[in-house]
C-alpha cells in the first residue's frame, strides 16, 4: 500500500535538507504527523518567517530582520574595528564569545579555485569601500585556517594594503585542552609563530 501523497510530499521535501536521507525524512515526517497540530504549524510558520523576514544587512551583509542590523546600529559597538568572517552564522559564533565589541563584515563565502569562486563573487569590494571612507582603524580577518580561508585572508590583506589600515589575522595554533603530543607540525609551527609574552 502506498503512502498518502501528502506524507510522500513531506518526505520528499525533508529529503532535500543537508544530511537528511530517506529514512531520516520518513522518521521526521511521522514525528510531525503524530505530534499536535500546533507544533507542526509552529514549525511551518518558523520556516515561512525565516524566508520572508530575514534580509541581508546592507552594511555588514549579515542576516537580520531590519536594515541595518542591531550590531551595525549599536552606538556601543566600535565601528572602527571590523571583523571579517566567511558566513553569516560565523557572526553568531563570535558573538557567543561575548568579548568582541567591534562590528562585522560577512564575505558570503571564500575564494575557491576548484569551485570557480573568485574575489568578484564575494563582498570584498564593499569592504574596500568601507575602509576607503577612512573611519576604520583595524580589520580582523577571521576566515577559517584552511586553504581557501587563508588565501582569502591573504587576498584581502593585499587589496587593503594601500589604504594603510591595520590588518590583523586571528591566531592559529593549539586549541585549549588539547595535547601537544598529538599536534601536527603545521599547527605547532603556527603556534610558535604566534607566541606571546607571559608577563
Amino acid at each position: 500500500m502506498k503512502r498518502p501523497p501528502a506524507v510522500t510530499e513531506l518526505v520528499d521535501e525533508l529529503k532535500k535538507l543537508p544530511g537528511v536521507g530517506q529514512k531520516t525524512a520518513e522518521r521526521l515526517s511521522f514525528f510531525i504527523l503524530r505530534g499536535p497540530v500546533e507544533r507542526a504549524l509552529k514549525l511551518a510558520t518558523a520556516i515561512k518567517n525565516v524566508k520572508e523576514k530575514i534580509i541581508l544587512c546592507s552594511r555588514c551583509h549579515g542576516i537580520t530582520e531590519k536594515d541595518p542590523c542591531d550590531i551595525c546600529q549599536n552606538p556601543g559597538r566600535n565601528q572602527a574595528q571590523i571583523c571579517v568572517v566567511e558566513e553569516p552564522h560565523d557572526v553568531y559564533i563570535l558573538e557567543n564569545m561575548g568579548q568582541y565589541k567591534g562590528v562585522y563584515h560577512v564575505l558570503m563565502g571564500v575564494i575557491s579555485p576548484l569551485d570557480g569562486i573568485g574575489p568578484g563573487e564575494l563582498t570584498i569590494e564593499s569592504l574596500k569601500e568601507k575602509v576607503a571612507k577612512g573611519n576604520v582603524t583595524e580589520v580582523i580577518l577571521a576566515t577559517n585556517p584552511d586553504m581557501e580561508g587563508e588565501s582569502t585572508a591573504a587576498y584581502i590583506a593585499k587589496v587593503l594594503k594601500p589604504s594603510a589600515v591595520r590588518v590583523t589575522r586571528i591566531a592559529r595554533g593549539l586549541p585549549i585542552g588539547s595535547d601537544i603530543e598529538y599536534a601536527d607540525s603545521v599547527t605547532l609551527m603556527k603556534s610558535l609563530e604566534g607566541r606571546s609574552e607571559m608577563l
Binding site: 543537508p18 544530511g19 579555485p113 576548484l114 569551485d115 570557480g116 573568485g118 574575489p119 584552511d146 586553504m147 587563508e150 588565501s151 591573504a154 587576498y155 593585499k158 586549541p175 585542552g177 588539547s178 598529538y182 599536534a183 601536527d184 607540525s185 603545521v186 599547527t187 609551527m189
Partner: protein
C-alpha cells in the same frame, strides 16, 4: 577488511556532513584514493592540518579491497608545503596541478610516476618562480606518463625526422606534422622549429630547473595552446582552476 599504508598527496578536501571531510589522495602505492575522515572538522581533530590540499602525508586507511570509499585512520604530515599557501600564484598553480592529476587519473590504479611527478612539481613550485613553464612542463609530462605522449620527434604523417622551418601540430594524430605533409593534410596550429625545441626541452629538462627555462615572448602562448588543448582533449572539459588562474593573473 584491509589496512593500507602509503605515502600520498592530498588532492582535494571537501566538507562532508556535520564534522567529516571527504578527502581525495594521490597515493604512491594505490593510485587515487578517496577516504572519509570522520570528525576531521572538529577543532581538536587529530587530522587537523594534515588534510589540506597539496600536503604530502603518510596515510593509513582501511576498507574492503574493491570499495570506492575508504575510512581514514591516520595521516601524518611528511611535507606540508605551507609556503605554497602563502603565495597566491604558487597556491593557484598548485591547485591547478592537483586538479589536473584528479582529472587525468582513475581511482585505485597504481601510478608511481604520476605520484612522483606531482611531488617533484610541488617541490619545484615551492622552491622557485617561473610558474608558467612549470605548468606547461607538468601538462606535457602528465600526458606522457599517462601514455598520451605527443609525437615530437617525427612527422605524425610521413614519419620523417627532418622537420625544418614551419611545423604543424595535429591534435587528431597527436603529433607534429612536417611542412610537406602540412600542405596536404592541413593542421590546426603551426609554429617554428624553435617552439618545437622548447616543447622537447619540457620533456627532458630536470623539473627542478623549470624556473631557468624562459619562453621567448609569443612562444609561451603557442606552447600553452598545444599542451593545454592536448589536456582538454583527454579530460573532455575545461578545468575549473584554469580560468581562475588566468583571471587572478589579470587582476595581479
Amino acid at each position: 577488511m584491509g589496512l593500507y599504508r602509503t605515502n600520498a598527496i592530498v588532492l582535494r578536501s571537501i566538507k562532508l556532513s556535520e564534522t567529516d571531510k571527504l578527502v581525495t589522495f594521490m597515493s604512491e602505492q594505490f593510485g587515487k584514493v578517496k577516504c572519509v575522515a570522520r570528525g576531521a572538522r572538529k577543532i581538536k581533530s587529530r587530522f587537523a592540518g594534515s588534510l589540506e590540499p597539496m600536503t604530502h602525508v603518510y596515510l593509513i586507511y582501511f576498507g574492503k579491497e574493491n570499495q570506492q570509499l575508504f575510512s581514514l585512520n591516520n595521516a601524518d604530515i611528511i611535507e606540508s608545503f605551507h609556503q605554497l599557501r602563502e603565495d597566491f600564484q604558487k597556491l593557484y598553480t598548485g591547485v591547478y596541478l592537483n586538479e589536473l592529476v584528479d582529472a587525468m587519473t582513475v581511482e585505485m590504479q597504481e601510478d608511481k610516476q604520476i605520484f612522483q611527478l606531482l611531488l617533484d612539481s610541488l617541490n619545484a613550485l615551492q622552491n622557485q618562480s617561473g610558474f608558467e613553464t612549470l605548468c606547461r612542463m607538468f601538462e606535457i609530462r602528465l600526458l606522457s606518463v599517462s601514455g598520451h605522449r605527443p609525437e615530437l620527434n617525427h612527422c605524425a604523417v610521413c614519419k620523417t625526422a627532418k622537420v625544418n622551418g614551419w611545423v604543424g601540430f595535429s591534435y587528431a594524430r597527436r603529433g607534429i606534422v612536417c611542412g610537406h605533409c602540412m600542405k596536404q593534410t592541413g593542421t590546426e596550429i603551426k609554429f617554428t622549429t624553435g617552439t618545437l625545441n622548447y616543447l622537447r626541452k619540457l620533456l627532458t629538462l630536470d623539473i627542478n630547473c623549470s624556473g631557468r627555462l624562459k619562453f621567448p615572448k609569443g612562444m609561451d602562448e603557442e606552447i600553452e595552446k598545444i599542451t593545454h588543448r592536448l589536456i582538454l582533449s583527454h579530460v573532455g572539459r575545461e578545468l575549473k582552476s584554469y580560468p581562475f588562474i588566468k583571471n587572478m593573473a589579470a587582476i595581479g
